[in-house]
C-alpha cells in the first residue's frame, strides 16, 4: 500500500513509502477544503495579498476572478505553496487544508503539492516523454513501480481527463505531438494521476480554441464529483458556467465571495458590480 499524504491528513510531513493500489477518494464533507485566515503575501516589498479570509468548500468548483494584478494567481498558488518558488516571498496568516496548517513547521511543500495538484495556463507536457510517461511520471516519483498498477492508473487518469479514446492507440507518442487542447487535458490527467484531493487551475483554457475550451469546461464539471477545484479565470462567462462559488479579488483584497449565480446576478458590492458589468476604472 502507498502510504501517501492522500490517505492521511496528517501525513504531509511524512515520506512517501512504497508501491500500492488505489488511493481512497475523500468523502464529501461539510468541512471546508481550505480555511484561509487573514492571509497576506508579499513579494519583497510588494504586497500581493492583503488580509484575505475565506473558506473554500470541498467537492465544489470555486472560481477566482479579478483584473490583472489583483492577486488571484498568487492566492491560488499559496494553496499549494507554489508561490514559494518565487524569491523573497513572505506569508502571514493561516491556510488550513482539511484542518491542517499548510505553513506549519515540518510540513513538506512537495507533500502538499501531491495532495493539491495544479494545472497551468499553458499546457506543459514534459517534452521528452511519451503520453503515457507524462501521466505516470508523478506516480513513479512517488514510488509506484508495479507495471499493472501504473497501466491501470494511466487508463483511469486519461479516461477521467476525457482523453483516453483519443490517445489509447498512441500512448508511446510524444506528449508534445498532441493538439493544444489535448495537451492541456494530458496535463490534467497528469495532475489527477497521483490522486490529489484538490486541483488548482490557473486559467486552464485561456490559450485554447472554443471547442477545446468547452471540452476542458465539461471535464471540470465531471471532476467536481471527486475533487475540490479552484480555478482562476479572466473569462467571466467561463466562471459563471463552470463554478459553484466565485471570489472576486481586487488589489490583493477579497471583495466578495458568494454563490456564482448570486454574484453574477445580484452582487452585493459596487466594486464587484462595476467589474463584472465592465464599468471598471
Amino acid at each position: 500500500m502507498i502510504e501517501t499524504a492522500v490517505q492521511s491528513p496528517n501525513s504531509m510531513s511524512q515520506q512517501v513509502t512504497d508501491q500500492g493500489t488505489h488511493l481512497p477518494t475523500v468523502a464529501p464533507t461539510e468541512v471546508p477544503a481550505f480555511k484561509v485566515q487573514n492571509l497576506s503575501i508579499w513579494y519583497g516589498q510588494k504586497q500581493a495579498i492583503n488580509d484575505v479570509t475565506i473558506d473554500i468548500p470541498s467537492k465544489t468548483i470555486t472560481a477566482i476572478i479579478g483584473p490583472s494584478g489583483c492577486g488571484k494567481s498568487t492566492f491560488l498558488r499559496c494553496l499549494n505553496r507554489m508561490h514559494e518558488l518565487m524569491p523573497h516571498t513572505r506569508v502571514e496568516g493561516k491556510v488550513l487544508f482539511q484542518g491542517e496548517d499548510l505553513y506549519g513547521a515540518g510540513v513538506d511543500p512537495a507533500a502538499v503539492r501531491r495532495r493539491v495538484g495544479m494545472v497551468f495556463q499553458k499546457s506543459n507536457p514534459f517534452p521528452t516523454m511519451s503520453i503515457a510517461e507524462n501521466v505516470t511520471v508523478g506516480l513513479k516519483l512517488n514510488g509506484l513501480r508495479k507495471r499493472s498498477l501504473l497501466d491501470e492508473r494511466l487508463e483511469k487518469s486519461l479516461r477521467m481527463a476525457a482523453l483516453w479514446d483519443e490517445v489509447k492507440d498512441d500512448l508511446k507518442k510524444p506528449g508534445m505531438s498532441l493538439s493544444g487542447g489535448q495537451q492541456q487535458r494530458l496535463c490534467i490527467a497528469r495532475a489527477i494521476a497521483v490522486e490529489p484531493e484538490v486541483v488548482l487551475m490557473d486559467e486552464p483554457a485561456s490559450a485554447l480554441d472554443p471547442i477545446a475550451t468547452m471540452k476542458i469546461e465539461e471535464l471540470i464539471g465531471v471532476l467536481k464529483s471527486n475533487y475540490t477545484i479552484v480555478i482562476v479565470t479572466h473569462n467571466m462567462q467561463q466562471a459563471s458556467r463552470v463554478s459553484d462559488k466565485t471570489a472576486f479579488f481586487y488589489v490583493g483584497k477579497l471583495i466578495e465571495f458568494n454563490d456564482t449565480k448570486t454574484l453574477f446576478s445580484q452582487p452585493k458590492e459596487k466594486k464587484t458590480e462595476d467589474y463584472i458589468t465592465g464599468r471598471f476604472g
Binding site: 462567462q237 459563471s240 453574477f264 445580484q266 452582487p267 458589468t277 465592465g278 464599468r279
Partner: protein, 226 residues
C-alpha cells in the same frame, strides 16, 4: 448603486436605446388607451378606428425591443444589473403590447356601443378608467425612475381595480335584468371593465419588473405583503 459608464460605450448606447424604445412604446400605449376611452365616452367611431390602426406602431416597437434585446445579449453577454435591465425591458415590452391589445378591444366595443343609443351606465367606467390609467402611468414612472417604493405600492392599487370590476359587473347584471333588450350593449360595457382590469394586471407586472430591474428582487406571486 450609482452606475459608472461602461468601458464599451456602444453597450451604454445600446442599453439607452433599448430603454428609450420601451418608454416610447409606453407613451404610444398610453395615448392609445386614452383614445380608446375617449372614443367610448365621446361615442366617436373615427377615434375607434385610429386606436385600432395605431396598434401597429406598438406591435412594431415590441418586435424592435425584442430584436435589440437579443442582439444586446448576444453581443455583450451582460450580467448583474445590466442583464436585469435587458430582460426587464423585453418583459416590459410584452406587457405594453398587451395593454395596447386591451386598448384595441375597448375601441372595438366602443365602436359597437356608439351605434346604439347611449347607456347611462357607461359613465360608471370613468373612475375605473382613471384608476387603471393612473396605475399604468405610475408603473412606467417606477420603471423609468427606478422607484422601487412606487413600484411596490402598485399591487394594492391593482386589487382595488379588481374590486371595481366586480362591482361594475354586479351593477351591469342588474341593469341587464331590467333591460334584456340591451344585453348585448351591457355585455360590451362589462367586457370593457374586464379589459381595464387586465390593464391593471399588466401595470402591476410592469411594477414587478421595475423592482427586479432596480433592486434585483423578484416580488411576483409574493402575496400582499409587497
Amino acid at each position: 448603486m450609482v452606475k459608472s459608464r461602461h468601458i464599451l460605450h456602444d453597450f451604454d448606447a445600446a442599453l439607452d436605446s433599448l430603454r428609450a424604445d420601451v418608454l416610447m412604446m409606453a407613451s404610444l400605449t398610453d395615448r392609445n388607451l386614452q383614445n380608446a376611452m375617449t372614443s367610448l365616452f365621446d361615442r366617436d367611431p373615427q377615434l375607434c378606428a385610429i386606436t385600432i390602426s395605431d396598434e401597429q406602431e406598438i406591435n412594431s416597437l415590441e418586435k424592435t425591443v425584442d430584436q435589440n434585446g437579443i442582439d444586446l445579449l448576444l453581443r455583450y453577454q451582460p450580467v448583474a444589473s445590466d442583464l436585469r435591465q435587458v430582460v426587464s425591458a423585453m418583459k416590459l415590452s410584452s406587457n405594453l403590447e398587451r395593454i395596447g391589445d386591451q386598448a384595441v378591444k375597448i375601441a372595438r366595443r366602443s365602436r359597437n356601443l356608439s351605434m346604439e343609443p347611449e347607456l347611462d351606465e357607461a359613465g360608471a367606467l370613468g373612475p375605473m378608467f382613471m384608476e387603471a390609467t393612473g396605475l399604468f402611468r405610475d408603473s412606467v414612472r417606477a420603471y423609468a425612475d427606478g422607484d422601487v417604493a412606487l413600484a411596490r405600492s402598485l399591487r394594492v392599487r391593482d386589487s382595488e381595480i379588481d374590486q371595481m370590476n366586480l362591482d361594475i359587473a354586479d351593477n351591469l347584471t342588474i341593469s341587464m335584468a331590467k333591460q334584456p333588450d340591451r344585453i348585448r350593449d351591457y355585455l360590451n360595457l362589462l367586457f370593457i371593465a374586464r379589459h381595464l382590469e387586465r390593464v391593471g394586471d399588466h401595470a402591476k407586472n410592469i411594477g414587478e419588473e421595475a423592482v427586479y430591474a432596480t433592486a434585483a428582487e423578484d416580488i411576483r406571486h409574493a402575496g400582499s405583503s409587497f
